[in-house]
Amino acid sequence: MDVQGWTFLIVGLTFALYIGIAIWARAASTNDFYIAGGGVSPLANGMATAADWMSAASFISMAGLISFMGYDGSVYLMGWTGGYVLLALLLAPYLRKFGKFTVPDFIGDRYYSNVARTVAVICAIIVSFTYVAGQMRGVGVVFSRFLEVPVNVGVYIGMGIVFFYAVLGGMKGVTYTQVAQFCVLIFAFMVPAIFISFQLTGNYIPQLGFGSQVADGTYLLDKLDNLHRELGFAEYTGGTKSMIDVFAITFALMVGTAGLPHVIVRFFTVPKVKDARLSAGWALIFIAILYTTAPAIAAFARTNLIETVSNQAYEEVPQWFSNWESTGLIAFDDKNGDGKIQYVAGEKNELTIDRDIMVLANPEIANLPNWVIALVAAGGLAAALSTAAGLLLVISASISHDLIKKQLKPNLSDKEELIWARVGALGAVLVAGYFGINPPGFVAAVVALAFGLAAASFFPAIILGIFDKRMNKEGAIAGMVVGILLMLFYMIKFKFDGFGGGTQADWWLGISPEGFGTIAMLVNFAVSFSISRFYPAPPTDVQEMVEQIRYPRGAGGATHH
């Protein structure tokens, strides 16, 4: 069978599976819809969290990015895993004990203020929408490359599937579909990795193959460093970013991860505080499988790429090169007219490669069978759809629960709220689809910055809410507002040329917009802390609530009040 036949078969089977699960796990109450009835086992929740967390960016783009960044790519590896330690130790158990439905619920109740709740809702919606638009686009791209339908048709199909199981099943449907999607995506990621690791180093385990010897007896990484030196690139294991920037970006990604509403809300779905802690551990194990394999794939792909194309005659390049050339993602410009591909640093370079294709093209570069290529397509779709669904639920709950139920119509019955939740999810799917078809130019830039925004707004407010009993609404609101505005200012100034713009030379302390979330977070902490000392301590019942969430006993199911 050819690649396209295999792709139709495997993608079709996985979609049928997701729909089957959605029908089986319909939501009957708001409890089901928001937190899957609160009865998900820690293991299943760990898998669902992993699928929720690993988006099209982790699956498709990350290994490619690392492949081109070398050591600098470590910011993503450490940043997107280290946040789970913060989540497990500082947030998940306490928020589970608090036992409500959403992050704005916690902010609103802990800071006894609807202003705080509204600020939190706005932050949650901004962060989630920027994220989800990128996912729908990812779905469209995978469809267009592997099934040869137009990108827009791919987005419609993706919307249809997500609509079906998110609107029907709510969190319950999404949770169990995500478990299935995790299995699909991790299988699809590992199979080519194992094949390629064995081909290149003779070791089946990519994590070990990464540090093994290649056919000529040198270590893979030493060889890669040598190749890079010969071609004039910075050493693969060395990197080019400044230390302070690497530090700041890693920190912002970690803290941002711990502050992302669609991740936090997953820990409301387990029955006990104990389960919330354990579940974070499972989630990180499942994530670590992919995150420790990705840098290995990056190094393999980089070596394969250089060896296949560098100084080869253009006439003799393999078939995959021409395939991807027709999509415009690889381009060759024979500047010196010698008919050979010079892939080097600087102006003499004749080859441009889109970083996103490394994972998708990898099986073809390594000559793997057609079904493996099809599997990668199904894995990319699983990663994009699972993340999109999780984000849509956050948006829908923000609207039906935090805005309508908590602020506009407190007398809403459970049935009516459920209808609103479904309407909210439908609206969110349509808006996400719109952005998928008409992507604003800044989506890719903003997705990375969403972490900075989450770090600058939610993280300090939640941490102080748990660990500082004296923290009051004045301090928390001031901190969130100053933090998110500062972050927005910096990213608009240096990413979109607002407020006079600026270049790398003007960065404050040499920190890039991606890493600035760290500074904005510190400012948030400082502002919250100093402002709070000028205003009275929170009321006694709030202080008692803080005392309560510190001890696990008595964590019942999540409730409305």
Binding site: I66, Y71, G73, S74, L77, M78, T81, G82, Y84, V85, A88, L89, L90, P93, Q207, F210, G211, S212, Q213, Y219, L220, L221, D222, T237, M243, V246, F247, T250, F251, K272, V273, K274, R277, L278, A280, G281, L284, I285, A288, Y291, T292, P295, F467, R550, Y551, P552, R553, G554, A555
Partner: protein
């Protein structure tokens, strides 16, 4: 009860110190120094940044789960 919270915070401080050392310490601040050391086929600093820190994170969470489950029992605040 104050005692329970204090012990909890102490565990957090210890675990977060390790969290900081394996990632920001070994993977970033000391990376050049550790890269002088060869570890299997890796430079050690590079290995911490792309592999070791992630393994350490997983272990940290499971150690935390164990410590807290024991602490909850000791102070009789565990869930029945």
């Amino acid at each position: 009860m104050k005692q329970y919270w204090r012990r909890n915070v102490r565990y957090l401080l210890i675990l977060l110190t390790i969290w900081f050392v394996v990632s920001f310490g070994a993977g970033i601040l000391l990376v050049d120094l550790l890269n002088e050391i060869q570890f299997a086929g890796f430079k050690l600093g590079f290995w911490f940044a792309q592999q070791g820190s992630i393994y350490a994170f997983v272990i940290l969470i499971f150690v935390y789960v164990r410590l807290m489950n024991k602490l909850d029992k000791e102070f009789d605040v565990d869930e029945k």
